[in-house]
Symmetry: C2
Subunit: 204 residues, 2 copies
C-alpha cells in the first residue's frame, strides 16, 4: 500500500532543532521544510498544521530521550546519586549546546510553554504533560531518598515541584545570561531544598 518515506522523521528533527535554538514564532514552516529537505506539500501531507508538528516533535524528542532517563533515574541507583548525576547531565547538555550553537538554549518544552501557554492550548497542554513526566521522575527519587533517610521533606510531590522550579529557573537564567556556568548552582540548591544530609560530594 503505497511507498514509505522518512520525511516525517526528518521534519520532526528539523522542527525540534530549529524551534529549540530559536523559538516557535521565529521559525517558519518554510524554514523547517528547507532544513528537512522536504517540500511544503509533503509537510502538510504529514501534519495538519505547524503547531501539530511542534507537538509531535516534542513527543518524539521525549521518546528518544526516555531510555536514557530511565537509566539515569533507575531505582537501582542511590537516589542522591541519581539527583547529582542529573544535575551534572543538565549542565553538560547545555554546555554542549552552547559550544555547538553559541547559545544556551534551555529546555525545549519550557521554552514552548513560556512562549505559547496563553496562545496555543495544544502546545500548552503538551508542555504541561512533559513537565508532569519530569515531576514523576523527581517525585519517585525524592520519595526514595526520604525513605532511606537521606532527604528531609514533607510532601515529595511538592518538593519535586520546588526542585524542578529551580532547574527551570536556572536554565532560564543561564539562557538569558548566555552562560552555562549558572547551572553549577543547581546541585547546591537541590541539597538545600531537600535538606540532603552528607551529600556524596558536598557543594555548600
Amino acid at each position: 500500500m503505497g511507498r514509505h518515506s522518512d520525511a516525517r522523521e526528518k521534519l520532526l528533527e528539523a522542527a525540534l532543532d530549529l524551534i529549540w535554538t530559536s523559538s516557535y514564532g521565529g521559525v517558519s514552516v518554510d524554514d523547517i521544510c528547507e532544513r528537512a529537505g522536504v517540500n511544503k506539500g509533503s509537510f502538510y501531507h504529514f501534519f495538519p498544521s505547524k503547531s501539530d508538528l511542534a507537538v509531535a516533535a516534542y513527543e518524539a524528542h521525549w521518546q528518544s530521550a526516555q531510555p536514557d532517563l530511565d537509566r539515569l533515574f533507575s531505582s537501582a541507583t542511590d537516589p542522591i546519586e541519581r539527583l547529582q548525576r542529573w544535575c551534572t547531565r543538565l549542565h553538560e547538555t547545555q554546555h554542549q549546546k552552547f559550544l555547538t550553537y553559541g547559545y544556551v538554549v534551555g529546555c525545549p518544552y519550557a521554552n514552548a510553554g513560556s512562549e505559547l501557554a496563553t496562545q496555543d492550548p495544544k502546545i500548552r497542554a503538551k508542555a504541561q504533560e512533559m513537565m508532569d513526566r519530569w515531576l514523576d521522575y523527581l517525585e519517585a527519587t525524592i520519595r526514595d531518598a526520604q525513605l532511606q533517610g537521606s532527604a528531609e521533606v514533607d510532601q515529595p510531590r511538592a518538593a519535586a515541584t520546588q526542585v524542578y522550579s529551580c532547574v527551570l529557573g536556572l536554565l532560564l537564567q543561564a539562557k538569558i545570561q548566555n552562560d552555562p556556568a549558572v547551572l553549577l548552582e543547581l546541585e547546591s540548591a537541590v541539597n538545600r531544598l531537600l535538606r540532603i544530609r552528607a551529600p556524596l560530594h558536598p557543594v555548600s
Copy 2:
C-alpha cells in the same frame, strides 16, 4: 518647539500589555498601534523598530514598578519579612492577572528572555539587565538576613541566584499549568534555600 503627545506612553503601555499576555512574536506592530489608538506612522516616529519599542516598554514598566519595590525591600523592614511579603506579592500579582485575562502570564522580562535570548541581542541584554536588578534586591536582603543570623548561606549572590531561579521556575510552572496556586510553594522553597530559622509563619 512643536506640539507634544502622549502617543509614546500609550504605545509603551499597549506593547507591554499585549506582549506580556501573549508573546513578542504573537503581537504585531499593527496590534500594538490599534490598542494604543495610534497610527503606524506615529509608531515609527517614536521608535525605530518593534524590538526597540519592546526594550523601551520593559524599561518603562520597571521604572513604574520601582518605587513599590523600594518600599517592599526597604532596609527598615526585617529581611525575612521582606522575603515573605515579596512571595505573597508575587502570588497576588499573578492571581490578579489570572482573574483579569484568564491566564497566568508569568514575568514579562523572563518571557521575553526565554523567547528571544538567541534571536535578539538587544532584548536578551535588556532581560539580563532586569534580572540583575532583581538579583540586587535579593542579594541585599539575603545579606541582611545573614548578618542578623536568621539565614544561613555561604555567598549571598549565589543564594540570590538560587532563590530567583525558584521564582522564575515556579512562575513558569504556574503559567504552563495555568494555575496561580503553584506559586504557594515559593515561601517554603525560599525558607529551605536560605535555611531560614524560625520563619514568622512557618510553612514547612
